[in-house]
Symmetry: C2
Subunit: 124 residues, 2 copies
């Protein structure tokens, strides 16, 4: 988990989305804050993560709770004029690749604004 998180933090810092290729499993499931049903596959996860990282302003992690196969990274950021907090819930497989990525965001008004901004970028 440590190595995977090291690469993750490096890509968030540097915005080098190509690093996702190294750490996402082909069969990753991505659970968005907006819909119940997960999106499946590496290409889809990469597409969503690349876009969401552009929508957040002043993005920073504020808490990290790390287990053997699962971790919870809490962040703060802004969308437009609203402050928000959220979590990335990450699960890795035996080879250290991310097989499950879930995002939750609060509060409700910031979630709604985030949804509108994401909708403009990626549709749906």
């Amino acid at each position: 988990m440590e190595k995977t998180l090291e690469i993750w933090h490096e890509l968030v810092r540097s915005r080098q989305m190509v690093l996702l290729d190294e750490i996402l499993a082909d069969e990753i499931r991505f659970h968005s804050p907006f819909v119940w049903k997960p999106k499946e596959g590496k290409a889809m996860a990469k597409f969503i993560l690349s876009n969401v990282i552009e929508v957040f302003e002043d993005f920073r992690y504020v808490r990290q709770i790390v287990g053997e196969t699962d971790c919870c990274l809490e962040f703060e950021a802004r969308v437009g004029e609203l402050s928000l907090r959220g979590v990335d819930l990450i699960r890795i497989d035996e080879s250290g690749k991310i097989i499950d990525f879930e995002v939750m965001v609060r509060p409700a008004n910031a979630l709604q604004t985030l949804g509108a901004e994401m909708g403009k970028r990626i549709g749906a």
Copy 2:
């Protein structure tokens, strides 16, 4: 943290809300999924937690990531006909009492329904 979590799970199982008196710090801050500003104080946190536990149906924890002072408990539940997942992000003080409790919920439609149900019970 282990002892605090043991009591927490016992109270969720038994719905003995009186156990909150043992594990909430007087100066607890409660961060709801709906508003940015935290609610402060033990009485307020007890009131909110007692109500939210009544609104969720089929509530169960599905993942637990535990650190020294912070933990992330992920749950699944239903509100009305909608399935949801959420996290309880818990921080304890040196004496093991909960000083910070944050809740996030996905997806957006379930969050909205939860808000409506909570509004009926406790008003805004």
